[in-house]
């Protein structure tokens, strides 16, 4: 199967050039930004007329009902955008029975920067589209955090009012989760996984392109909620608990609808990953020869496919309650408020693992390469990912220990929550054992990966406190939880995203990043992160609730320290951005394999050829055979691949 795909690709690749320039009317009717310019306003007009027409036909007052219009706009305008940019062209030709255009691969690969701004079916282009987009939203959401910390530096209200503050932390969390961490991992996976398994691309390249373009839509919907008149951005937290969410101003709909687009994007990518990993591995790559990043994305994608529909449903129910006046969550008419939390967390707890497992995979790749050692206990590492996947579905109600649900559920959920620490612990101990007797190179990716291990341990351990029902009754909904989530998602997920970006930067751009700036970035982040988030454990336990714009004066001093540190943490991002932009343009040319890694993505040029491999790789061994002389992961015809080396005799290392 894979062989056929590659051969056709290769044959056409030879003749593929830039697409013929469109002329005349074709320029505005063909897929692209010119078509966006007229189709998006047209979609807006159609949506508006549809709502106004239906309301006037049915005699509803008032005609201009913003809630209903927002729903119509956030469905129809994005669809018209996707159609205009060219997301559906090929399928529409096919569905309507017209002859599909012969595949000229004009939509595949990047010849200039312009190719990153159109529908592109190359997984490498899509991976970079994902990463750049997600970093944009990371910066936007980070700035919101800076505004919050400015307000919180002193007790009382200084810069923003309560409504703005509630909007800031709600949009901050939603963007960080749905527009940064989840899709940033999808972006890294998109770039790396087909290369790692020896495939020419993802299984469904057009679906892959479409799933990327859903992402900016979701982000812009959430961001533009600030523009909604009377109330502004959604302000019920990213958890959007009812009845608050139902009672809120119209901006809340922008969360409900934004999540749908982000969720659809996630599900499409996850299906793509699953089919790609299952069917497109190179000959010889059995499941037990897959790099752990591939295992991690396999587990993550399964979680995404099974869990994401629940968050979509939870937000649709709120939207129906608001717009259609259903009563899912109206207790006066038999609705159930706590039911919302069950549905929401049935996604949103697995989502924590969706945001963590790919990071586990990245850490395994980076630590093995820079310790020059095989991953310790490879099979148990893979199996513990699967254990987390299964257990991850049985712990959701630990977010609800004080919610008023049936008290007995707390006990089984506490047990599963604590037991999930076991596979997680296995991973941590195995990473440490991988360092043992290694030859450690503390490059920037390795710094972030080892920083991740220690920070994630703190986040995992504070999770034990929150898993224990009696302690959670005290700590729930306080700053202790804020500290915990940031140790997991910042010290955990974000550190591995940074590790991954630095690690694959030479492969993606063909240039080396600046190592010195990378280290400065790491240390600023590491120190700033700990001073920002560690004291939050203390203020939380002492009695400061989360999600407050104002707090009791006794927490003033620590909040001041936290705010100052958070500004330093924010500034460290500038070092990262500067390093990335300048190195991308002017960094030294990267060799194909600067890290002397064994995995397949490093056995091709940097950046790789359009269809990744000129020859089908033959996988012959484990991806981590460092320390064994001559051991190879794969053989590529006609080209040498990296091999393991024998270690120096014991004793020589430390002399």
């Amino acid at each position: 199967m894979a062989v056929e795909v590659r051969e056709t690709h290769e044959a056409e690749h030879a003749v593929a050039g830039p697409p013929p320039p469109r002329t005349g009317l074709r320029r505005v009717t063909g897929p692209g930004w010119l078509r966006v310019l007229w189709m998006v306003p047209l979609g807006w007009v159609v949506a508006t007329l549809l709502v106004l027409g239906a309301r006037s036909a049915l005699g509803y007052e008032p005609l201009w009902e913003l809630q209903v219009l927002i729903v119509a706009w956030t469905v129809i305008v994005p669809l018209s955008f996707l159609g205009a940019i060219g997301g559906f062209d090929y399928w529409l030709y096919w569905i309507s029975g017209r002859p599909t255009r012969p595949e000229d691969h004009s939509g595949h690969g990047a010849r200039s920067w312009r190719d990153y701004f159109r529908v592109n079916t190359d997984h490498k282009v899509i991976g970079i589209q994902y990463l750049v987009t997600t970093i944009f939203f990371f910066v936007a959401a980070g700035l919101m955090a800076m505004f919050m910390r400015a307000e919180l530096a002193r007790p009382g209200m200084q810069y923003v009012d309560a409504n703005t503050f509630n909007g800031l932390f709600s949009v901050h969390a939603s963007l960080m989760i749905f527009l940064f961490i989840i899709p940033a991992f999808a972006g890294l996976g998109n770039y790396v996984i087909p290369l790692m398994i020896g495939a020419p691309d993802m299984a469904f390249p057009r679906l892959n392109a479409l799933s990327y373009w859903l992402l900016p839509i979701a982000g812009l919907i959430m961001l533009s909620s600030y523009l909604v008149p009377d109330g502004g951005a959604f302000a019920a937290g990213w958890t959007n608990y009812v009845p608050l969410a139902v009672n809120q101003a119209d901006g809340n709909l922008m969360f409900q609808m934004g999540v749908q687009w982000a969720g659809a994007s996630s599900i499409m990518t996850a299906l793509n990953f699953l089919v790609t990993i299952i069917t497109m591995r190179a000959p010889g790559m059995s499941f037990w020869r897959m790099p752990l990043l591939v295992w991690a994305n396999f587990a993550t994608s399964t979680l995404v496919v099974l869990a994401t529909p629940f968050v979509a449903g939870s937000q649709f129910f709120i939207m129906f309650d608001r717009v259609l006046h259903t009563d899912f969550f109206n207790p006066a008419l038999g609705g159930d408020i706590v039911a919302y939390q069950h549905i929401f967390w049935f996604y949103s707890h697995p989502a924590v693992y969706i945001m963590m497992l790919p990071g586990f995979g990245i850490a395994s790749e980076v630590i093995s390469v820079f310790a020059r050692k095989p991953i310790f206990g490879y099979r148990l590492m893979a199996l513990s990912l699967m254990a987390i996947l299964i257990l991850g579905f049985s712990v959701w109600a630990h977010h609800m220990f004080v919610s008023g649900m049936q008290p007995w559920i707390r006990i089984p959920m506490m047990v599963t929550t604590l037991v999930i620490a076991v596979p997680t612990g296995i991973k941590v101990f195995s990473w440490l054992a991988t360092l043992w007797e290694g030859r450690l190179h503390f490059t920037t990716p390795m710094l972030f990966a080892s920083g991740f291990v220690s920070m994630f341990v703190i986040g995992g351990l504070s999770g034990i406190y929150l898993g224990s029902v009696p302690v959670d009754i005290h700590a729930s909904d306080t700053y202790f939880v804020v500290a915990h989530i940031h140790y997991v998602l910042f010290g955990g997920s974000l550190f591995t995203i940074f590790a991954g970006i630095y690690y694959w930067f030479p492969k993606m751009t063909g240039r080396m990043y600046d190592e010195r700036l990378g280290r400065i970035h790491f240390w600023l982040t590491f120190v700033g992160f700990n001073i920002t988030f560690f004291p939050m454990h203390w203020v939380g336990l002492q009695g400061m609730p989360r999600r407050v714009a104002d707090y009791a004066p006794e927490f003033g001093n620590w909040n001041f320290v936290i705010s100052i540190a958070s500004f330093g943490l924010g500034a460290s991002t500038l070092v990262f951005l500067y390093n990335m932009i300048v190195s991308w343009r002017r960094g030294p040319i990267a060799p194909p394999n600067p890290w002397r890694a064994l995995t397949l993505e490093w056995q091709v040029s940097s950046p790789p050829p359009v269809f990744n491999f000129d020859e089908i790789p033959q996988v012959v061994g484990s991806p981590y055979e460092y320390g064994t002389r001559g051991a190879r992961h794969a053989v590529l015809n006609g080209k040498p691949t990296e091999t393991g080396k024998a270690p120096e005799p014991v004793g020589a290392i430390h002399s």
Binding site: A162, N166, P331, G377, S403, V422, A433, L440, H474, L541
Partner: protein
């Protein structure tokens, strides 16, 4: 290596124990929960010390010299070690789970001689109803701050009129969401006299941060005296009581300089009620939707006319009139 780990562990444990992580413990439940907290802390500190110790040692011992191109030892695993680090955490977390379950049952144990207090929540205020204390007019006593006697278990029956709120007194440790449509419950046996903050911990909207009140724990004799005082005030009313009522019931949403309140959900009353007459103030309280100050939403609860006794309402109006310079 083990020695380094142990040394780091001991050092961390000392630091962890000497930091006062938890606020004063003022209830029986607090003592139970704090014990669980410290047991978990000791286990976690040991685990973290092992991880930190091993990492620090590895970074120090196995760092490659510059320019090194060799590989480390080809160690693929160690079944014995892998079994050990699966089993030990399993035993630890099982222990924590069992102990937590037992502690939870103890904390929620309800002796037959308990007292019941209803906790009523709405955007953005708390009120507390004592079903067994009757005041003028045969209705149960309702107050804006919580007052309970020491050393008697209190069963809190918690309800919400609107969105979810969460009832928490940090010094008591116990916390419970208030959910519209159901009555949730929590149990506290206060063991220390004093005044403690009541905090809303579930995001409930604009006034969430200021949705606070106080819990006052009195000796049984003082509690009886307080009950009699409340019954007298309900009969007689007056501006002094009006100020207390304002601070407890209105302060989380309104600024009033005289009362020292800083809520910003509703209009600043120093301005909005400046020079207002008693009828306007009364209407603003019992029928707040009748006239909405410019720039504000129709967010004020409309049921103060039912919650407050007539004496309380009159006292409140009298106080507001005096504080804002109108009439009196």
């Amino acid at each position: 290596m083990t020695l380094v780990g142990v040394a780091v562990g001991v050092a961390l444990a000392i630091v962890a124990v000497f930091i006062p992580w938890l606020p004063d413990a003022a209830s029986e439940q607090a003592d139970i929960i704090d014990t669980v907290y410290w047991v978990v802390t000791i286990i976690c500190v040991v685990v973290f010390a092992v991880v930190a110790g091993v990492s620090a040692y590895a970074v120090y011992k196995f760092r490659a010299p510059p320019g090194d191109t060799d590989d480390g030892s080809p160690i693929h695993g160690h079944t014995g070690l892998e079994i050990v680090w699966t089993l030990i955490p399993t035993i630890l977390v099982t222990g924590i789970a069992v102990y937590s379950g037992v502690a939870l049952a103890q904390a929620e144990d309800l002796p037959p001689d308990h007292r019941v207090v209803q906790v009523n929540s709405e955007q953005f205020k708390w009120s507390f109803t004592y079903p067994d204390i009757e005041v003028e007019g045969g209705r149960p006593l309702t107050t804006g701050e919580l007052v309970v006697p020491v050393d008697q278990t209190v069963r809190f029956e918690i309800t919400s009129k609107d969105v979810i709120h969460s009832f928490w007194v940090p010094e008591w440790r116990m916390k419970q969401d208030a959910v519209q449509g159901i009555t949730t419950e929590t149990t506290v046996k206060p063991t220390e006299l004093g005044t403690f903050p009541v905090v809303c911990t579930e995001l409930c909207g604009l006034g969430h941060a200021l949705m606070r009140s106080q819990a006052v724990v009195l000796t049984p004799a003082d509690f009886e005296a307080w009950v009699r005082e409340q019954q007298r005030l309900a009969r007689e009313g007056g501006a002094v009581q009006g100020r207390d009522l304002f601070v407890a019931q209105c302060g989380s949403c309104h600024i009033l300089e005289d009362a020292g309140t800083q809520g910003q959900v509703g209009p600043n009353l120093d301005e909005a009620l400046q020079g207002a007459d008693a009828d306007f103030i009364m209407e603003s309280i019992v029928d707040p939707s009748a006239e909405i100050a410019e720039g504000y939403q129709d967010a004020m609860p409309g049921n103060f006319g039912e919650i407050f006794t007539e004496q309380q309402l009159e006292g409140l109006v009298q106080y507001l009139q005096e504080a804002t310079g109108g009439g009196g």
